[in-house]
């Protein structure tokens, strides 16, 4: 999935107690892309997901697996910013949550092309790509200006 000289995989953080605490103390912050890494936890709670972390020298990937099979990956820079997200499954995740403040831009961008098929939204500061078909939906979004040094956009998948 990713290349890197240092790679560590930990099956960690399905900390139910912490999760319950987070859910009890805070309403999930509805934001992810472009936000701080802390919002990953609100996504995790929202999706009731298991989470798995993969770390390269350039970024950390949080993979959230929902019980219904949908997988969301959130790519976090060393500075703690979510610079990319991807999703795959039979159903879409809550993209208002996953895309945060970019959701409206995504919806508007999706409507710019007539005819059905995959979509690519490439605008100032935002790239969104969606693909697949009923029962097999996938997509990704990233912030080109926030990619960590040396990270290629193709790695967000």
């Amino acid at each position: 999935m990713t290349t890197g000289t240092f790679r560590r995989r930990t099956v960690a953080l399905p900390l139910i107690a912490l999760l319950l605490l987070v859910m009890a103390l805070t309403r999930p912050a509805f934001a992810t892309l472009g936000e701080n890494v802390a919002t990953v936890q609100s996504d995790q709670a929202h999706m009731r997901a298991n989470i798995r972390m993969t770390r390269t020298t350039a970024y950390t990937t949080h993979e959230l697996q929902s019980p219904n099979g949908t997988v969301v990956r959130e790519f976090v820079s060393p500075a703690g910013t979510v610079f990319g997200v991807s999703w795959q499954g039979q159903s879409l995740p809550d993209l208002r949550q996953v895309l945060g403040k970019y959701f409206d831009q995504y919806v508007q961008g999706m409507q710019k092309r007539a005819g059905h098929g995959p979509r690519i939204i490439q605008e100032q500061g935002l790239v969104v790509q969606v693909a697949g078909h009923q029962r097999s939906l996938s997509g990704r979004a990233y912030l080109p200006e926030m990619l960590p040094t040396g990270v290629r956009a193709e790695e967000v998948r």
Partner: protein
Amino acid sequence: MSARHSRNLTAIATLVGLLVLAGCGGGSSSTPGNGLTATSATSVQNVQPLVVNSGPPGVVYVNGAFTSVTVCVPGSSSCQTIDNVLVDTGSMGLRIVSSALSLALPQQNDGSNSPIVECNQFIDGFTWGPLRMADVKMAGEQAKSVPIQVIGDPAFTTIPNACSSTGPSEDTVQTLGANGILGVGPFRQDCGLACSIGGSVNPGFYYSCPSASSCAQTTVTLAQQAQNPVWMFASDNNGVILELPTVPASGAPSVSGSLVFGIGTQANNGLGSAQVLALDANGNFTTVFNGQPHSGSFIDSGSNGLFFLDSATTGLPTCSGNNQFYCPASTQNLSATNQGTNGVNSTVSFSVANANTLLGNASDFVFSNLAGPNPGSFDWGLPFFLGRNVFTAIESQGTPAGTGPYFAY
């Protein structure tokens, strides 16, 4: 231009209506259920006209295959023929925009007598609306009491947040680009088993709506889901063939073809020398391009171009001002190999022309060489169907080449 096509469609719809009437009287000796139907002297008329054109009035659609579908109040002769319905091998289920439907079809309710309403997710948007029951007729074929989705029904205008949070709505003729979508993909239902299981494993497409503004996600049985109507036909129910002619490299204003029901059930729908690509559980296979395999590839008449990979892997530049399509300086001839999960390899040759040049011609709406990026996989859209007979076999339905799901061409 669209007015002319609309007149053609009206003529086709009239013809279809006559054929349906003829087919209804003919009866059939076929055996429902197993997909294999004995050819007999009373075989039903299984050819439904298709047209690829600019779509319904007010819509400018490129590379869309449209047909007409007749829906009836179940068990009655109260029917309506809907034209400009997009034929889609990438989805399952018949969906009709409410503004195109004047017939009052009965609502499907759940066990607590609440209406079942669906948030159907396409890749480019969702459709929201109730499931209503209809007898579905095309050519001489009939499927009785089929749950279909009525999109944008004024009885259910409050879209739940969990639905609207997935993307744009496609609940009007304008946003859908069609009066409806006929999903004849390789599965029986739009969702399948997942929607019949309770709890968090359920993808949550279906809702129970005790009132129009209070809907809650619910489980539905397989039979309650939106159905690919073809597998519910009394005969010729194991799949479809889309048959469309080639077009000149510069494009064409419109072409006519056929949607043929059944695979190997009649003299006109045999597989012949077609290569059969078995599919994975999601309806995908692998496409190899320049030696690199790309899983998650598929054939989809509902995608309006050949969408594959990206500029970095293909060397094809996207268009200036339109990054949805490729714009090579000169037409590129390429090839790729599709690999079914059954190990069958099939090499496909295809061309990619400059999309800005193609789309700059305002009188053409059918292009065999319109292509664009789709990072990571191949989406063989409508151009793939031009000049080919493409078979879509439905899951669990027997055919002479084995049980679906598969694509063959």
